[in-house]
């Protein structure tokens, strides 16, 4: 029995390692290309690891000013996340405490999240052209905020339900206005949920592509759009693709690894709590 179990564990390790290679090798390859010299990138047979780690591919991005697209992503995702968190949490509070709109409103909210972006982006594009909002921070921030609101409302609804009602009631008895209760009791009590939801909202906006592709030209190009700018016919700028992708991916890896505890609840839209 003991031998059997040990073999079983051994077998599981072999399988686990195979899976690890399949899921992590592509990421390794992406990052390793960003450190390679052009000779190493376009070498046949492929070079599995670079002789020297060099940062020329990254410094080119900064020298050409392409790296500004990472800053654009940061501004757009950061601002829209803050606004969506404030509005969304308020809305979620109303949904939980006052049952505003009932179940129909909740269904409508979450169905917005599942809507294909391509179906709404075309009318939005024409509206933005009319308003002169194309290729502006404001235009994209509004759109990202609106697009992420359903997720925030949905997630915060779950987190607010976990807050004990007594605290709010005693604050009301003490003479706090409803706005004060929201600001001084609900927001602090839900801070863990707020933080976790904010990080996911940020990552969704950070990784977003199709809205940015349609609504940016030169001024507010995000890193995802910038990556696709390097595709072109026969001459793909491999080093730039890899370096830009790496620049945009590292922040996501860092934030998500800090949030392991909330990962399941965050990506399952609250279906799994814990």
């Amino acid at each position: 029995m003991a031998l059997n179990r040990r073999l079983n564990l051994f077998g599981r390790y072999i399988l686990a390692c195979c899976l690890l290679v399949f899921f992590v090798f592509p990421i390794y390859w992406l990052f390793i290309i960003s450190f390679k010299t052009p000779d190493e990138i376009f070498h046949f047979p492929p070079v599995w690891y670079p002789k020297n780690i060099q940062f020329a591919n990254f410094s080119v991005l900064f020298k050409d000013g392409d790296a500004i697209s990472v800053l654009n992503s940061l501004i757009l995702a950061g601002t829209s996340t803050v606004i969506a968190m404030v509005f969304g949490t308020m809305c979620a509070y109303s949904l939980v405490r006052f049952k505003t709109g009932g179940e129909n409103f909740a269904v409508w909210v979450i169905s917005q999240r599942l809507m294909p972006p391509i179906a709404i982006i075309f009318p939005i594009f024409l509206l933005y052209v009319y308003l002169g909002w194309v290729d502006t921070y404001g235009g994209l921030i509004i759109l990202y905020t609106a697009f992420n609101l359903p997720y925030v409302i949905w997630m915060m609804r779950g987190y607010i339900e976990d807050i004990p009602l007594e605290l709010e009631e005693s604050a009301l008895v003490d003479g706090c206005s409803r706005w004060r209760v929201l600001w001084k009791v609900v927001f602090p009590m839900a801070r863990t949920g707020l933080f976790a939801t904010a990080v996911f909202t940020f990552v969704f906006a950070w990784n977003e592509f199709i809205f940015a592709l349609v609504l940016t030209r030169t001024e507010v190009v995000t890193y995802t759009v910038q990556v696709t700018h390097y595709f072109g016919g026969q001459s793909n700028f491999w080093a730039k693709i890899a370096a830009m992708s790496a620049l945009g991916t590292v922040p996501v890896f860092i934030t998500v690894s800090l949030l392991q505890r909330f990962l399941v609840r965050g990506i399952s839209m609250g279906a799994v709590k814990g």
């Binding site: 690890l20 009318p123 409803r178």
Partner: protein, 306 residues
Amino acid sequence: MTYAPRAKHESTVSRQSTRMPDHNFRYWIIAPSVFLLLLIGLFPLIYSLVVSFQQITMTDYDTSFAGLDNYLHLFEDARLWQSIAHTLVITVIALPLELLFGLAMAHLFLEKMPGRQIFISLIVLPTVISPVVAGATWRLLFDQRYGPINQVISWLAGHEVVLLWNITPHLVYPAILICEIWQWTPFMFLILLAALSNVDKSLTEAAELDGAGFWRIFFKIVLPAIWPVMAIAILIRGVDLFKIFDVIWALTSGGPGTMTETVSIYTYVQGFQQFETSYTAAIAFLIVGLMSMVVIWAIRRMGLAK
């Protein structure tokens, strides 16, 4: 002047008496969200509906009423229906595979093993990468000469093999599916792992003592227990697969020809490359209509809103 202090006094009094829910407050706090949601939820729908009955193209701003012309054209548009078929093929193959692989992996990592958490943390990384970056990464991996995939295949085959992954018709779909499955199996895996860990162990152990086999326990006890969570994971992935755009944009751009053009790619081409304004509006309206029905039906059916 004398009113000011009194007004202030009154406000503190009214503040003290707000023990009952203030009915305006509940609407004030949803107002900004509702406004923004209407902007992306209702405005595009109404706009698409209006414009889809006109004849606007890039060169011709013709707002005269065109009746159902655009909608009738939808039925004749073979490329549209092909793009829907492409999307469904990708969804129907990728979704069950992601589910099965995810489930199998969840079982593999369900029991304790040293280093389990490290394995899990690394394996879920693909899921948080931007889909565009995932597509770009696989484009580099699939490169016929400098990519490692053909190299590995050559080693296994014992002679040099050159596969043109994103050009050869019978290889583009496998390429897209591999990338898609690579990115989203960890998503299924993570959610199902959490769901499996929450299954009541005393039930499965009791069944085991009664001599029930693995599959019997799985279908009679485990599956019903994880189904609510699994259903939501399937819904989220199903909807995302139907919207698929970024990965294909980065990997094949819909090519070769229109072989891998999905609904989202086709709509993009019509709207932003061909500038068929009114016709694109009709397509958008069709997609929103279809998706709304399916999604709302699924949400209600699964009891997700509760």
